[in-house]
Amino acid sequence: MRQCLSAFFATVVLWVLLTWSEIQEQGYPPLLVGVLAALIVAVLSRNLFPAVSLHPRRVFYFVVYIPALLWEIIKSNLDVAYRVLHPKMPINPGIVRVPVSLQSDYGKTLLANSITLTPGTLTLDVLGDNFYVHWLNIQTREPQEAAEIITGRFMRFLNKVFP
């Protein structure tokens, strides 16, 4: 049921974004059509869509997470730019295994995408509780340490968002 409702509201929000000007001009008919479509979709994807929880603490950490992610991206951008422009190219590329403690599928997805978004690291695959990450500058071969370096900066927030 929660899944169904989440899918419904997500699609309605999308619809309103798409038809905002129309709704302003013509009143309820475009909105009604959208709600109908959203109902159908919600029923169709009742077992598929993630169940969104609106617990205030989770929402808060999620909102905070976004600027934190942006800050990490900027930092690692600068780092990669430095390595590329340096005449000696101080890189040490390779693939490391990174154990992850997150249980939720969506948490793993978010984390993997965050790792990929930050330059210098790229998630290649997820197998069980392990990520395989291509790292531009390997600092350690120890999985636990690598996990601390790569995912630690995100996990602070994600642990709260996906308890």
Binding site: A7, A10, T11, L14, W15, L18, T19, E22, E25, Q26, P29, P30, V33, G34, A37, A38, V41, A42, L44, S45, L48, F49, P50, D105, Y106, K108, T109, A112, N113, T123, D125, V126, L127, G128, N130, Y132
Partner: protein, 142 residues
């Protein structure tokens, strides 16, 4: 490195993203064909987007059972709706496909007579049709 046993089983990232995007893509398809008479686009384009959202789900989730009889029924009913809408013109004393229903104000959603419903019918038809084609192709031989 541990082996991924089933090569058809997609990774968790693909899976969860597909499940998340599916309803949104679906509704976007609906948006395209509902506005077929107002903006560029229409039944075919909307139907294609819907079908691709379902194909995305196939690829993302790995296994998905869609009852074939339901698809057949939807497809046929949509096509018959198109013919029926065309016949409204005949019933009202004109020729086939005569746009005899009140036209409304141009530019609003509920305008253009039978065009809007026709686009909806075509959208459903194309969506189910392409899904069925994909379903047929990926099925193993009898």
């Amino acid at each position: 490195m541990e082996k991924n046993d089933d090569p058809r089983e997609p990774s968790v990232i693909v899976k969860s993203i597909a499940r998340m995007v599916f309803p949104l893509a679906f509704v976007y398809g609906v948006y395209i064909f509902v506005h077929g008479h107002l903006t560029p686009g229409g039944g075919f384009q909307g139907g294609t987007i819907i079908a691709s959202s379902i194909i995305l789900l196939y690829l993302g989730v790995g296994t998905l059972k869609i009852p074939e009889s339901l698809m057949t029924a939807l497809e046929s009913v949509a096509a018959l709706c198109f013919i029926g809408l065309g016949c409204i013109g005949i019933v009202k004393g004109g020729n086939f496909l005569w746009n005899a229903v009140s036209l409304g104000t141009p530019g609003t959603l509920l305008s253009a007579g039978i065009l809007g419903p026709i686009y909806v019918a075509i959208g459903i038809k194309v969506g189910t049709e392409l899904t069925a084609i994909f379903n047929n192709m990926r099925r193993s031989p009898p």
